[in-house]
Structure formats: structure tokens, C-alpha cells
Amino acid sequence: MRKNIVAYLTLVIGLLIFSGCSHDSIEPTTKIDDKEIDNSDIQKVDQQATSQSTLKVHYIDVGQADATLLQLVDQNETMNLLIDTGDWNATDVVTYLYSKNIKDIDIVTVTHPHADHIGQLEKIIEGFSVTEVWMNGETATSQVFANSLEAIEKRSIDYYEPEVGDVFDIGPLEITILHPDSLTGNTNNNSLAMRLQYGEISFLFTGDAEQLAENAILASGANIQANILHLGHHGSNTSSTSDFLQAVNPEIAIYSAGVDNSYGHPDVEVVDRISERDVPLYGTDTHGTIIVETDGKTYTVMTQKQGTLSQQSVGKSCLDINTANAEELQEITHIGPAFAKALIELRPYRTVDELTNIKGVGPGRLHDIKSQGLACVGG
């Protein structure tokens, strides 16, 4: 049951991810429960959230690489965590962090030392006040790795190698380490894997862990169930086995991959496995940056690119009255064939309230329709 999805927002973000661009360039057009919200409203919502505890998880669009920002607001204090740091020959993660007016980062985790995960660590250490860096203990001899270690040492940043079973408390956010138990000769399978629990909502990150690592995690017997799964290895077929997906039992799956990447990520077999489970799939290649916001009880999914999210992609949580066909519209209470036909003729609608423009749909029926929660504008 997807009770946790109370609504989902589609953000059109005019976010330019290159250096020198405006740091606050998000220009969302957002609809929540049929109400359009302009940018000033978004800011008000953010300000209100500071008096409560919220977690925003930003699956940043960094091309064929990985970087996820977690922003925890608790008791008016904001804590920032970063899982992976994007590609080595880019600055998009740094630019994104600047765009969020971030100055301090409490923990930067590098799941493994490949250049598409540790890529901008040095730049982040140089550009922000980083408290702690986590690595899996594996060394690489790349320039980006060497420079990163030098930056950690030069700035006397705390360094830690989490071990399986370690639990970390970042305010109300609990992080449990699932992998690796020991390092092997396979860097992907050495990826740090962790489960994050925030209230009733959980997230799973496995870096580039492949089947071998997934099997080890399964064999450990640890709790790996998660509402939101970050697919291992950019959606590669080396990862996300059926058994692993069964155990995680996600409500949403997200992968990070570049548009038209040469690796064929996400692999069609993985997409099929996710689809067979009727789990909505989001990817940075098609949705841009994806943000999951939660109060610990429910969560909202927001994406950068408008038009790529269908109602199907969020478990049919709402039906766009501007695009649904006549048959689909009849899933809405009080809407039969005649009303569906009239509804289509009167398109477009700016809000669900405008359904009262249909002859025969009065306040009472509108109330029932809105109570059902299926009809929406935008989708």
C-alpha cells in the first residue's frame, strides 16, 4: 500500500549545473493537492519546515556518476550529509551544493573509490566546511583519490571507516552499515552499503554493489527493507537481483545514470524486474534531480523535469484530469461516460475545483471527488 505517498510534485527546475550559474536557480511550478504554489509559497513552506523535523534526500543529476545529498532539519538545526561526490571531471555536485546555500557538510560518505563516486571530494572539502569523511578503507592510486586524502589530512577532517553493524545517529536519522564485512579484490563489491531510518521511512544505498555483495547482505540477515531503494551500480544488470529486490521490498526505486550513457544503464532487465514488482522507477537521466522529502511518516517525490512523471509512475496515486482518457476518468467518483466526455471537452483545467464547470458537477460532487483524492492536475 502506498499510503506514504500523499502527493507528488513535479518541479520544473531551471537548474544550470555549471559553475558560474546562479546558486538559486530553481524555478519550480508546483501543484500540491490541486493548488498551484508559486516560488514564494515554496520558500514559506521551507521556512515552516524548519520548526519541525524533515528530511530531504536529493538524488542529484550528475550524469553517469553518483551523488546524493541528505538535508536533515531538526529543531531548527540543519545537518547535511552527502553520499558520493559525483564524477571526477565535473563540478556539478559543488555547484548544486552552492545552489542550496550549503556551507557545512557533516558527513561525506564515499561508497568506493571509483572516480565516478569520489570524483569531487577534494573540491567539496576545499569549498565547504566538512566535519567527517567516511570511506570503505579501500585505497586507489588515482590522482583524484590521492588529492582527496591530501585534502582530508590537510584540513584535519575526521576520517572513519564504518563497519558492518555500526549504527550512527544524526539527530533523528539512524544509519546502519550493512556492507562490506571485509574488502575483496572487486571494488564495486566493496561498496559501503547502508540503511537509513527516519521515523517510519527508510532508505537504502548500496553504491555500486553487485550480486556478490547483495548476496552477502542478504545472507547477513540484516534488516534491509526500505521504502526508497537507490538501485546499485546505476541500474546495471550486475545488481538489483530479484532476491535482493524481494528482501528490500521498495515502494520506490531510483537510479543515477547519464542520458544515453554508453553502458546501457539502467539495464532493461533491471527495469523489468522493478516493473514486475509494480514499483515506480525514477532515474536522473529521465527525471533530472529527484528529491524525496519526508516528515518521517509520509514522503513526497519531486523531480526536476516536468512531463516525465506519469500517474502510473507513482502507483496511480492521482489521475491527471487534463490527460487521462475517458475510460480512466471513470475511475473518479461520480464520473460516468457522459461526465467523462464533458470533462474532456472542457479541458484544460488549472485546478480540480474547475470540474464544477461541467454541467451537473456541483459543490457536493466536487467535495466527493476531492475526498477520493484520485483526480489531480499535472500528475
Partner: protein, 87 residues
């Protein structure tokens, strides 16, 4: 001739070589690598028209960076700490 780093092999068994001086990465069929190449090996590569056309191992640079990283890593490992770990 450029200095390149063998960062990883892809799902399709291509070698991914990073060339810092160009800020570019190149895919090369693994069978074109010198025999003793492994992930983490520094290479000297010739590039023509955005393709690597010759590769040889840079033994000295591989050893120098390996030593530097290992020494630095040992120092970091000796002072591992986390203020967030549950005790």
C-alpha cells in the same frame, strides 16, 4: 604523450582510462592494455582524434603514487573517529 590512470573496467570489459591533463576519460578494449596492467596502474598514452592509440605502463608513477597514498592512508587510519557513531 599523456599520463593516464586505469580506474576500472566497465560491464562490457572496456578499460576506463582517466587523463587528468585533458580532464577526459577514454574507453579502451581491455585486450589492448599492456599485459601487466591492472586497475590502479598509471599509463603513458598517445591520443589521436580522441582515441588512445598506444599505451605503455608508467612504472615509476604507479609506484610513486602508490607509496604516497599508502603512507597517507596509514596516517588517516591511525586516527579514525566518528562523532556520530552510537557507542
Amino acid at each position: 604523450m599523456y599520463s593516464g590512470y586505469l580506474d576500472r573496467f566497465t560491464d562490457t570489459n572496456d578499460a576506463l582510462i582517466l587523463v587528468d591533463a585533458l580532464q577526459q576519460q577514454f574507453h579502451v578494449p581491455a585486450d589492448l592494455l599492456p599485459t601487466d596492467s591492472t586497475v590502479g596502474t598509471w599509463l603513458l598514452v598517445d591520443i589521436e582524434e580522441d582515441n588512445i592509440v598506444s599505451i605503455q605502463i608508467d612504472v615509476d608513477k604507479t609506484q610513486a603514487i602508490t607509496n604516497e597514498v599508502e603512507e597517507r592512508m596509514q596516517r588517516l587510519k591511525s586516527r579514525k573517529s566518528s562523532r556520530f557513531k552510537r557507542s
